[in-house]
């Protein structure tokens, strides 16, 4: 809970604990065995961030699953696929959406950590990548809440909207034309706005995480996180404002 309310102290404590462990290991001289055990515990501490990322992926998968349902409903109405094939496609697609959401969460976790690590190098940051990866993982906690809120909004949207009929599903232009009115739904726009808000919250956590993981000043940590995040949000907003919430 402290990571949400006071991330600075949380990450400071984490970093301080490691340094103390390292210092204690070097001072004793003979305590190499304990030092090895301490490093082993630190490596195991990636489990918590990984669990957080996994949870975030699963929750995000709910929204994706619901939106996939819209696509399958569209396919069903277009009557281009036989009923049996549609059942298989729906099942595979639903599971695929979940798995895709989880896998992409882990991929984005690593990519984001690498990006922050690289940017922090510009500010002469010090610290291992694994530490950065760990602290960035903690920053995924707000995305769990974001996923829940988005799931509620998307569910509300899916359960009330009228799915358009596309006569030719092989034509991407027609699908885009049919989906265009749906993507401008106020619920989806709101979901996007919520996504951006929670990303800002994550960015806030990452700032303090990077500050202690890479031993940066607050200003440098802010720049390290803000630059990639700002670019990311800007690109998303310019491309499609509603795509953020999905």
């Amino acid at each position: 809970m402290e990571v949400l309310t006071n991330p600075n102290r949380f990450f400071e404590a984490k970093a301080k604990g490691e340094r103390e462990e390292k210092g204690a290991g070097g001072g004793e001289g003979k305590g190499g065995g304990e030092g090895e055990r301490g490093r082993g515990e630190r490596e195991q501490s990636l489990k918590i961030p990984a669990l957080i990322v996994l949870t975030s992926g699963l929750v995000g998968g709910i929204s994706l699953f619901l939106m996939a349902g819209v696509t399958f409903e569209m396919l069903r109405k277009s009557q281009t696929l036989p009923q049996e094939a549609l059942g298989v496609v729906s099942a595979v697609g639903g599971v695929g959406a979940f798995v895709g959401a989880v896998v992409s969460s882990f991929v984005i976790w690593v990519v984001a950590a690498a990006l922050f690590f690289a940017v922090s190098c510009l500010f002469k940051g010090e610290g291992k990548f694994k530490r950065t990866l760990e602290f960035v993982g903690y920053g995924y906690i707000p995305t769990i809440f974001s996923g829940l809120v988005s799931a509620v909004l998307v569910y509300n949207f899916v359960s009330t909207t009228q799915i358009p009929v596309v006569t030719n599903v092989a034509d991407p232009a027609e699908i885009q034309k049919a989906l265009a009115p749906l993507l401008t739904s106020p619920l989806l726009r709101l979901s996007s706005a919520v996504g951006i808000l929670f990303m800002l919250w994550s960015a806030n956590i990452w700032i303090f995480g990077l500050k202690h993981a890479r031993n940066l000043s607050t200003r440098d940590a802010v720049l390290t996180v803000a630059i990639p995040v700002a670019i990311y949000i800007l690109v998303l907003l310019l491309r499609n404002p509603s795509s953020l919430g999905v």
């Binding site: 949400l4 102290r9 909207t161 358009p164 009115p181 709101l190 808000l197 956590i205």
Partner: protein, 440 residues
């Protein structure tokens, strides 16, 4: 020689009386022979004859205009005759043509037709005798009377056959018999169906309820054909004319038929009013729409496409043939491909069929009221091939994400509960971010 005196006197007296009687009788007889001779001389001089006449029409009706043609012949064997004047005279009938003057010479054995026009003005039925007066040279005059009959009897129009029960929307065959009780032939006989005036007025008062009810006969006319030409009708002859009546409304209907015919060149008419009671049929096809779904399909700017699907059921007791579903005419509503119309075909009683239609609704139409009503027209034929139609209105709710949806969510509008929750979440997140910076 000696005679007895008394006998001699008696004989003498008788002789004198006899001589006197003979003398008187002889004188009288010589006067009659003179008159007879005079007449004979005149007849011998009058060689003009009227050999015949022809009346058209044969029998007039009151106020009818007719013609009479008399044939004048010069019966002289070797001599021509100069005809000075010919005129028609009548007290009861009006002579509508002028007399002939200075006609000219008529050769021996030749004939001449003289035509006069007569009008039966305000004269009762009966037989009248107008006269033709022909004056020739040398006081050769001739008068000739001929009969003209006036009869006001009209042709009769009667109902020959009408179904006992007449049902709304079902064809009923009405047979009329037209008869000619007149003594002459009527020509150009025709029967025309006249629009029912009284019922029309009632329909207007109802504000076109029949149309709003959605049922009607395609083509508009309830009586088919609107006119039947019978032709010539000889005396005491009867012919039949048939009309098909397909009522569109219930209640008492008054059908008016007008009979027109010609007596010569004179047009006459008679009318027949036929009251009919129209009731709802208990067996006719009754097409009912169920399971209607309206789904939005690909839309463009200002145009919204929808796919209407559903089932059409025949809840009646008779077959509906050639059932076709169409999008009706309405402003801003247009049927589109691939299903501008949907052919269902034969729909037996208690049978149903699925259908789908594509419709395009313009933005202007979408802006009207809370939604759009798309007219859905169902057409079918009865066993006689008569086309029937029925219009149902399908309400289209606007697409969510475009305007308003079924949940009441619209542009810039969200449920209050969602807005409150989101505001709370925003406040919490912003608060936590601010708190984290305060505590650093």
């Amino acid at each position: 020689m000696r005679f007895p005196s008394s006998l001699s006197l008696l004989f003498l007296a008788l002789l004198v009386v006899g001589v006197l009687v003979v003398g008187v009788v002889g004188l009288a007889g010589s006067g009659v022979s003179e008159a007879q001779a005079q007449v004979a001389r005149e007849e011998q001089k009058t060689s003009i004859q009227i050999t015949g006449y022809q009346l058209t029409p044969e029998v007039l009706m009151p106020n009818d205009l007719g013609t009479v043609t008399v044939t004048v012949k010069n019966a002289e064997l070797a001599k021509s005759v100069n005809i000075k004047e010919a005129r028609l005279l009548s007290k009861e009938l009006k002579v509508a043509s002028d007399s002939y003057f200075n006609i000219g010479r008529l050769g021996h054995g030749e004939s001449l037709d003289l035509t006069f026009t007569l009008k039966a003005t305000a004269c009762p039925d009966g037989i009248y005798y107008p006269r033709v007066l022909v004056k020739g040279e040398d006081a050769q005059n001739i008068r000739y009377s001929f009969p003209v009959r006036v009869d006001s009897t009209l042709l009769t129009l009667a109902v020959k056959d009408v179904p006992e029960d007449i049902f709304k929307g079902e064809r009923a065959r009405i047979e009329l018999a037209v008869g000619n009780p007149r003594p002459n032939t009527a020509t150009g006989v025709k029967i025309t169906a006249v629009a029912e005036k009284r019922e029309e007025a009632e329909e207007e008062e109802k504000g076109g309820e029949g149309v709003a009810g959605g049922e009607g006969v395609a083509g508009g006319e309830e009586l088919v054909p609107s006119e039947v030409f019978v032709g010539a009708l000889s005396r005491d002859e009867t012919k039949t004319a048939s009309f098909n009546f397909t009522p569109q409304t219930n209640g008492t209907r008054l059908l008016n038929f007008k009979l027109e015919f010609k007596n010569g060149e004179n047009l006459h008419s008679a009318e027949l009013s036929l009251p009919l009671k129209v009731t709802e049929s208990k067996k006719k096809p009754e097409l009912v729409l169920t399971g209607i779904e309206v789904e939005p399909s690909a839309s463009g700017s200002g145009i919204y496409n929808y796919k209407i699907t559903g089932d059409i059921n025949n809840a009646g007791l008779e077959d509906a043939n050639g059932v076709v579903m169409k999008i009706g005419d309405a402003e801003g509503v247009e049927a589109t491909h691939p299903y501008k119309s949907y052919f269902v075909g034969l729909l037996s009683p208690d049978d149903f069929s699925s259908f789908e239609l594509d419709v395009k609704v313009s933005e202007d139409r979408e802006n009207e009221g809370e939604g759009t009503k798309v007219p859905l027209r169902i057409e079918y034929k009865d066993e006689d091939g008569f086309l029937f139609s029925k219009t149902e209105y399908i309400a289209i709710e606007r697409q969510q994400g475009q305007r308003t949806g079924s949940s009441g969510v619209g542009v810039g509008e969200l449920p209050l509960s969602v807005v409150v929750v989101l505001l709370f979440v925003v406040a919490v997140v912003v608060g936590l971010i601010a708190y984290s910076w305060k505590k650093r």
